[in-house]
C-alpha cells in the first residue's frame, strides 16, 4: 500500500481530544486516511471509536486538536458542514424515522429541495445499480434491519461523498448480507472513494481493509496493515493484554437430563404495528446445557423474551413451562419464584433503572424471590441487607465503579452488565434466560460473563442465550437454533453447526423451517 503514503491524505486528524466530565473519551488522536483506501478503526467497546467519528461528522465538538480535509484545516461544527465537505456517515444506531417512507428519509438529509418523487426515482436507480434494491415508498417502520441499513447507505451515497464512515455495519447483518456489503465497499473503493470502517470484528477487517488504526481507552495504540497481522495479534493490540479464552467443558449425561425450560407451540400476535408475531415456537432446554438462539435483530427476539420472561402473559398456559409447571399465565414474579432468572437486552431502562443506586437495582429483580432477606415487616426495605448483597455481587463479578453504591447510569456498559448478570447468578437460578449477554461490552467483561453462564449450566441449570453475535454463540452454546421472522428453527448441535449454515437460516433461506421441523410435536404434547 505504498501508493497511498505518497499521496496527500484526504483526511488528516491531529491531536483530537474530547472530554466528557472527567472522562477523556478521545485523547489526542492522530489519524490519516488516504484516497481510495478502506481504513479500519479498531477498538473495543468504549475505546472511543464512536466519539471520534461523531467529531468527524460534526455531531460532537472536539475539545482540542485539528482536522485537515484535503490538506486544509477545517472546523466541522455540524453534520451539514460535514456533508458539504463530502463526508458521509452510516450510523450504527440508524438515524432513521420510522413513521416516514424511505424516500422521505432520504430527502431529509439532502436539502436540495427536489420533489420527493424525483428523489425516490434517484434512490431506486442507485440502489439497483449497487445491488442493494430498495422500495422508496415503504414505511421504514415496516422494514427489516438489513433493509434499513440499505436506506442509510443509499442516503449516504446520494450525497456523493468522498469519505464514507461506516460504524459497525455488519453487527446487524447475516454473514451472507455482510458479504454483499463487502462487495459494495470494494466497488466504492475502486471508484476512488475512501472508507473509514469501524469494527471490532477482526476477520472482516483483515479481509477488507488496507490500513488500520487501533484505539484503546481513547488513545491510538498503533497503526498497522491488518493483512500482515493475525486475528490474535490485532486482538492483543485492541485489548492490551491476552484475553482469557472461554472454556466450555463438554456437557455430560444430557440424554438423561431433565427439561427445565420448555416452550411448546408458542404463538403471539404483534403487540404494536411494527412488532413481529411469534409463530409456533418450540424449544426445550435441559439442565446442564447452554442453548443459543441466533438471529438478526428485530426478528422477534424481543417479543420472544417478553413471552418467556412473563413480562407479557400467554393465552395458552401450557405454551411456557418452567421445571414442568405450566406458567403461561404467571407473571414475571411468579416465574422467578419457580427458580427462573432473566436478563433483558437493554441495560439502562429495562434491566436497570438508570437513576437508582445499584443496591436498589438489586431489589428490582429480587424483591419477591428474596423477600424474606430484603423486605421486613410491613413492607419496609432492609437497607443494610440490600447494600451488603449488592457489595457481594460487585466483588464476585469484579464490577468497577467510582462510589460504594453508585447510580446504575454512572457505570460503564460492561460493568453494569456484569452487575445485572451477577444479580441473577447470585440467586443460583435453575433456569436462566439472557438476551444479548455481552452487547456493547468490552472483551474482558464479555469473557467473564460468558464463562459464568457456562459454569451455571454445568452446575445443573438450564441456560438460554439469545444473541446477535455468532462468535459468542459458537463460543458458549451446546446447540444453536435460529430465529427468523418470528419463527424458530430446530436446534443444531454445536458440532454440526457452521457459520454458513446458521447464516443461511438467519436470512430465512429455508422457508417454513420451523413448521417442518416441529409439525409433529404438537401431537406428542397433546
Amino acid at each position: 500500500m505504498n501508493l497511498h503514503e505518497g499521496a496527500a491524505n484526504l483526511l488528516e486528524v491531529r491531536g483530537l481530544t474530547k472530554i466528557f466530565g472527567s472522562l477523556k473519551a478521545c485523547d489526542s488522536i492522530d489519524l490519516g486516511i488516504a484516497r481510495g483506501e478502506i481504513h479500519a478503526l479498531l477498538g473495543e467497546n468504549g475505546a472511543g471509536k464512536s466519539t471520534l467519528v461523531k467529531m468527524l461528522f460534526g455531531s460532537l465538538e472536539p475539545h482540542s486538536g485539528e482536522i485537515l480535509w484535503n490538506g486544509q484545516p477545517v472546523r466541522i461544527t455540524s453534520p451539514g458542514i460535514a456533508k458539504k465537505l463530502g463526508i458521509g456517515m452510516v450510523f450504527q444506531h440508524f438515524s432513521l424515522f420510522e413513521a416516514l417512507t424511505a424516500a422521505e428519509n432520504i430527502a431529509l438529509s439532502l436539502n436540495d429541495g427536489a420533489p420527493i418523487s424525483t428523489i425516490a426515482a434517484k434512490a431506486r436507480a442507485l440502489s439497483y445499480s449497487y445491488g442493494l434494491p430498495l422500495d422508496p415508498d415503504a414505511l421504514v417502520g415496516d422494514l427489516s434491519v438489513g433493509e434499513r441499513q440499505r436506506i442509510e447507505i443509499i442516503r449516504c451515497l446520494l450525497q456523493t461523498p468522498d469519505l464514507i464512515i461506516l460504524d459497525e455495519p455488519t453487527s446487524v447483518l447475516t454473514p451472507q448480507e455482510a458479504d454483499k456489503l463487502f462487495e459494495t465497499l470494494e466497488r466504492l473503493r475502486s471508484e476512488g472513494k475512501s472508507i473509514l470502517y469501524i469494527s471490532h470484528r477482526l476477520e472482516e477487517v483483515k479481509r477488507m481493509c488496507d490500513r488500520a488504526t487501533v484505539l484503546r481507552h481513547g488513545k491510538v495504540v498503533g497503526h498497522c496493515n491488518p493483512r500482515e497481522e493475525t486475528a490474535s495479534s490485532l486482538a492483543r493490540m485492541m485489548v492490551g493484554s491476552e484475553v482469557r479464552a472461554v472454556e466450555r467443558p463438554p456437557a455430560e449425561g444430557m440424554d438423561k437430563a431433565e427439561s427445565l425450560l420448555e416452550i411448546v407451540n408458542l404463538n403471539r400476535k404483534p403487540a404494536t404495528p411494527f412488532s413481529i408475531p411469534l409463530r409456533n415456537i418450540n424449544l426445550s432446554v435441559r439442565a446442564g446445557e447452554v442453548v443459543g438462539i441466533a438471529g438478526v435483530a428485530g426478528n422477534g427476539q424481543g417479543e420472544f423474551f417478553e413471552a418467556v420472561s412473563g413480562e407479557v402473559l400467554q393465552q395458552d398456559k401450557a405454551s411456557v413451562r418452567i421445571r414442568g409447571r405450566q406458567v403461561g399465565g404467571l407473571d414475571i414474579t411468579g416465574r422467578r419464584l419457580l427458580g427462573a432468572a432473566f436478563v433483558p437486552e437493554e441495560r439502562l431502562g429495562h434491566g436497570a433503572a438508570p437513576r437508582m443506586k445499584l443496591s436498589e437495582n438489586l431489589l428490582l429483580s429480587r424483591h419477591a424471590t428474596d423477600g424474606k432477606a430484603f423486605v421486613g415487616t410491613a413492607g419496609m426495605i432492609d437497607g443494610k441487607a440490600i447494600y451488603s448483597a449488592a457489595q457481594r455481587i460487585i466483588e464476585v463479578m469484579d464490577v468497577r465503579k467510582s462510589a460504594p453504591d453508585p447510580e446504575a447510569a454512572s457505570l460503564s456498559g460492561g460493568n453494569l452488565q456484569k452487575f445485572i448478570v451477577g444479580r441473577e447468578l447470585d440467586r443460583k437460578p435453575s433456569v436462566m434466560v439472557v438476551n444479548q449477554p455481552t452487547w456493547g461490552v468490552d472483551a474482558g467483561a464479555a469473557a467473564h460473563i460468558r464463562q459464568a453462564l457456562i459454569e451455571l449450566a454445568r452446575n445443573g441449570s438450564a441456560v438460554l442465550v439469545i444473541s446477535q453475535d455468532l462468535d459468542e454463540l459458537f463460543e458458549i452454546s451446546d446447540s444453536i437454533a435460529v430465529m427468523h421472522n418470528g419463527e424458530l428453527s430446530a436446534r443444531i448441535p454445536i458440532a454440526e453447526a457452521t457459520y454458513e449454515k446458521i447464516g443461511l437460516l438467519m436470512g430465512g433461506a429455508e422457508p417454513g423451517h420451523a413448521a417442518t421441523a416441529h409439525d409433529a410435536e404438537p401431537a406428542e404434547v397433546a
Binding site: 438515524s95 424515522f97 413513521a99 422521505e104 431529509l108
Partner: protein, 324 residues
C-alpha cells in the same frame, strides 16, 4: 329555516376558537412538543385582545395584540422546555396557572366594560343571498382565517419540505439531530405558531364570541382543544370535524337551556317528550355536557390502540438535550 341558519352560525362561532387553538397545538405536537399551556395562552390572548381593542378602539389591533401576546407567552414555555429541558407537562400546567392568574389581574379594570366586536363580512349581493349568504359570506373574519389555517397547515405538514422536517423531528429527535437538523430551532417555531394560534383563539372569544372581558372566559376551551388534537389523531381535517362537533354540543346545551317548552306543546309526543325530559334535567348537567363529551370521545379514540400508536408523534413530550 332562519332558525337553523342562525344555529349553524352560532355553532361556527363556538367552534372557531376550538379549531384555531387545536390547529396550533397540532403543529407543536407534530414537532414533538406537548404544550399544556393552551388554556393559559388563550386567556392571555383574550384579555390582551380585549384590552388593546378597548384602548385603541380598533378590534383589529386587538387581534394583533392577542397574537403577539400568545407568541410571547409561548416563548416562555419554549425557553423552559426546549432550552432548559424542563418537564413539558409540568411547565405547560404552570403556563396555564400563570395565564389564568395574570389575565385575572390585568383584566380587573376591564370587567363590565363594553368591548369592540370584529365586524362580520358583508359583501353586497352575496351576503344577502338566502340561506347560504350569511353562512358563506356573512361571518366574522376569524372564521375564514380558521378555515384557511386548516388548509395551510395541511399543505405545510404533508406537502412542504419544512413540514416534513417538522414531522421527522416529532418522530425521532435523536435521528433528526444526527442528520444535523436543528431540533430546538424548529421546535421553537412550532411552539410559537401554537402560541399565535392560541392567542388568536382568545381574541375570537373576547372580540367576536362575547365581546367583553369576563374572568376565566376561556372556560376550559384550551383543554378541549388539546383533547381535539388527540381525537383528530394529529390530522388537521379531523380537527376541523371535531371542533364543529364540540361547537354543536356547546351550542346545543345552551339552546336547550333557553328553549321554551310551550312552543312545542302542539308537537307530537315523540318530539315533545324528549325535549321535556331534557328540559327537566338540571342546567348544571347540560353545562357539563361538553366536558363529559370530551371524556367519552377520548375514551373512544384511545380504545383503538393501533390508530393512536400509528399516529402519535413518537417523541411527543420527551425532553431533548443535544449532546455536544
Amino acid at each position: 329555516m332562519d332558525i337553523w341558519v342562525s344555529i349553524l352560525l352560532t355553532i361556527a362561532t363556538a367552534a372557531t376558537p376550538l379549531l384555531i387553538a387545536a390547529i396550533g397545538e397540532l403543529v407543536a405536537e407534530r414537532a414533538g412538543v406537548l404544550n399544556l399551556g393552551v388554556e393559559g395562552m388563550m386567556i392571555m390572548g383574550a384579555v390582551g385582545g380585549f384590552g388593546a381593542g378597548y384602548l385603541t378602539g380598533s378590534p383589529w389591533i386587538g387581534v394583533l395584540a392577542a397574537i403577539v401576546i400568545g407568541v410571547l407567552f409561548s416563548l416562555l414555555f419554549a425557553f423552559m422546555t426546549l432550552t432548559l429541558a424542563t418537564n413539558q407537562v409540568a411547565t405547560g400546567l404552570s403556563l396555564t396557572i400563570l395565564g389564568l392568574g395574570l389575565s385575572g389581574m390585568l383584566g380587573t379594570s376591564f370587567v363590565g366594560l363594553p368591548g369592540q366586536r370584529l365586524p362580520n363580512l358583508d359583501i353586497p349581493g352575496l351576503t344577502s343571498l338566502p340561506v347560504v349568504g350569511r353562512l358563506l359570506f356573512g361571518q366574522d373574519p376569524i372564521f375564514y382565517l380558521s378555515i384557511a389555517l386548516v388548509i395551510a397547515v395541511t399543505w405545510f405538514l404533508f406537502r412542504s419540505r419544512t413540514g416534513l422536517t417538522m414531522r421527522a423531528i416529532g418522530d425521532s429527535h435523536t435521528s433528526a439531530h444526527a442528520l444535523g437538523i436543528s431540533v430546538i430551532g424548529y421546535r421553537y417555531l412550532a411552539v410559537m405558531f401554537g402560541g399565535a394560534c392560541a392567542g388568536l383563539a382568545g381574541a375570537h372569544l373576547s372580540l367576536v364570541y362575547t365581546p367583553q372581558w369576563v374572568e376565566n372566559m376561556s372556560a376550559g376551551r384550551g383543554w378541549i382543544a388539546l383533547a381535539l388534537v388527540v381525537f383528530a389523531s394529529w390530522r388537521p381535517w379531523r380537527v376541523l370535524a371535531g371542533a364543529y362537533i364540540f361547537g354543536a354540543i356547546w351550542i346545543g346545551q345552551l339552546h336547550v337551556q333557553a328553549i321554551d317548552l310551550s312552543s312545542f306543546a302542539s308537537s307530537s309526543w315523540f318530539i315533545y317528550q324528549p325535549i321535556a325530559l331534557i328540559k327537566s334535567l338540571p342546567s348544571q348537567f347540560l353545562s357539563s355536557l361538553p366536558y363529559l363529551a370530551t371524556i367519552v370521545v377520548l375514551v373512544l379514540i384511545s380504545r383503538n390502540k393501533r390508530l393512536t400508536m400509528m399516529n402519535t408523534p413518537a417523541s411527543l413530550a420527551q425532553p431533548f438535550v443535544p449532546e455536544r
